[in-house]
Symmetry: D3
Subunit: 78 residues, 6 copies
């Protein structure tokens, strides 16, 4: 009866993509640990980019910086 | 000073029901472990049915399936 | 299919007390929101007192202070 | 590569204040544990006052009570 | 930069199995949402069976009941 | 009454360092959002390196790789 919590930034994941995450995470627990899928929970949290920080900055700011460069700034994760 | 997090699907819990959950969880910690209610936190997360998966499917899909059957599909929790 | 996470300091809760928390939290969700107990999860986290802070101090320090006073210091939760 | 989750009531924190929380939490981990800021995550959850309970009541009710008193009720945290 | 938290009962998952969970969850996020694996975190929590409840009982009790029956009790998840 | 959860790998943080994290996180919430320190909780989770994954590998493996290179492998966070 595992519980899986997936946290991502809210940047347009579709219901189909979220369904794939649910299916994939459940299958992973079944395959690796032989868990019962009927009691495997997967909860997806979509977090506003103002509320997710990395490298000391909000993702809102990081995305804005990326627009003005040719890609992800060196050393800052995408 | 306990912290209780209750995660449920967002399916119409009313403010009165949420107040009952807060009151009940607080009283539980006071009764069982003699905790101080003034510093017992209860946080309720309501999760969209697209974002909650069980048995490898989103609750959105499960609820839709239930509408076309006489009840909860065998082996799938309500 | 709710998920309840109860976080308490690790200060000697017995298996019987933890079983009461599990039973009580499950009954609360059944009573208030008519949830199915068979798919209600309750997870208890016991946290070392060095790792739990309140009022800017660890609970280890707070408990030590309490030993040298007649009770909980004013304004600091028990 | 620490992960920091800050939960607050949704009561008007501005993007600038949230950016300060992200910056401050990241710097704290760098200063105390020499963590790499590029892989320090800070996630802020803003919780509706109906969904946050303390002292057995929702913060919605507590805030309403405060309006009719000269301050925070005795023994109830702000 | 997703964060994935997998909670399972502490019942003997090996380092190899946990490595598979980490690899599989990371690949899932890369495949479905094109996330950067270098900044995908996977945290596994192993929870004592006394501290995990389902159907109002601890998993410790459920496992003990299973030993005396031919399988999982009807309606109680494995 | 904020709640802060700090998750780090279990790699020898001392009680003094954890006390600094508690103090610093509490002060941050007081300074930025004028929160009441008496009801600010900080919970630190120390996670075994087998149970923390990044870049699809456990930190146990990453640390072992670092021992055989002059530093952090390119593109993998420290």
């Amino acid at each position: 009866m595992p519980y899986v919590n997936i946290q991502i930034t809210r940047e347009g994941a579709t219901p189909e993509q979220k369904a794939e995450l649910i299916k994939g995470a459940t299958e992973l627990l079944v395959r690796v640990l032989n868990k019962n899928p009927a009691t495997t929970f997967v909860i997806i949290d979509e977090v506003d980019t103002d509320n997710w920080g990395v490298a000391g900055q909000s993702v809102t700011v990081l995305r804005w910086q990326e627009q003005f460069t040719s890609g992800v700034p060196a050393g800052i994760p995408a």
